[in-house]
Amino acid sequence: MSNKKKKKLTPTQQQYQQYAKQREPKRPVFLNCARAFLVGGLICTLGQGLQWMFISYFGFDEVTAGNPTAAVLIIISVLLTGLGVYDHIAQWAGAGTAIPVTGFANTMASAAIEHRSEGYVLGVGGNMFKISGPVITYGVFFAFVVSLIKIIIKELGGM
């Protein structure tokens, strides 16, 4: 909780906040990191394997192989999400499944499946980007700003 919010609370509430903080179970940070490293590393190794396959057997090169690799990883992730397996892995692996592109597909598929009872247009269509939206919004906004800065530096004769 931010300090600003804390000041508005009554003393009793502040006491309670502290008490609650003490009782909060300690997160096993090291163990979580080890799991994230293992699972995240394995997903990237799988990606590397797919990329190698696309380069050696389907005539893609290092750069173009990225697209089919991402697509296949996304299909696998969506399937596992639909079957309810991905969430089990995610619970164990934490960031290991959230950070790779499969996590992005997982948030979209799970939001789409979860909201289908609200109808296909407003439910599925409207909620699909509910969790993955921030990634696209901030990615695009910062990519725009970074590109503009880079262009300005270039036009001014630097780099």
């Binding site: 690799t69 790779p100 990634v135």
Partner: protein, 119 residues
């Protein structure tokens, strides 16, 4: 040589996930904040020209984590700018990432047709 590529993909990809886990556990960010932070970090590293060398070095270890999404956005925007001038920043921004986003939308929608919510 190939085994080496796999090893570095594992190590670098795992390391990026550990950064994400630390953001979640130590700095108490939600998964959405964590992935957004990594994407923003990707755009900045891409703008500085530091992400491409990492991809050369680690292959899928750098392209599979979500931070490469940020790098690809900048890369697409800059490539279109070189060809079409300033408006290219807007037209090119999704150029490289289009496959990933389109695939995710199409398959997520198909999944919502075939699967029922679990649990």
């Amino acid at each position: 040589m190939i085994m080496e590529k796999f090893l570095w993909a594992f190590v670098v990809g795992g390391a990026i996930c550990v950064i994400g886990q630390i953001l979640m556990d130590v700095f108490r960010l939600t998964p959405a904040h964590t992935t957004s932070s990594l994407v923003v970090a990707g755009t900045i590293l891409g703008g500085l020209g530091l992400y491409e060398p990492l991809i050369k070095f680690a292959g899928a270890g750098a392209t599979v984590p979500i931070s490469s999404f940020g790098n690809s956005l900048v890369k697409g925007a800059m490539a279109e700018y070189e060809m079409n001038g300033i408006v290219g920043v807007l037209t090119g921004i999704f150029e490289v990432t289009s496959a990933g986003i389109s695939a995710a939308i199409v398959f997520a929608f198909m999944a919502s047709l075939f699967f029922k919510p679990k649990g």
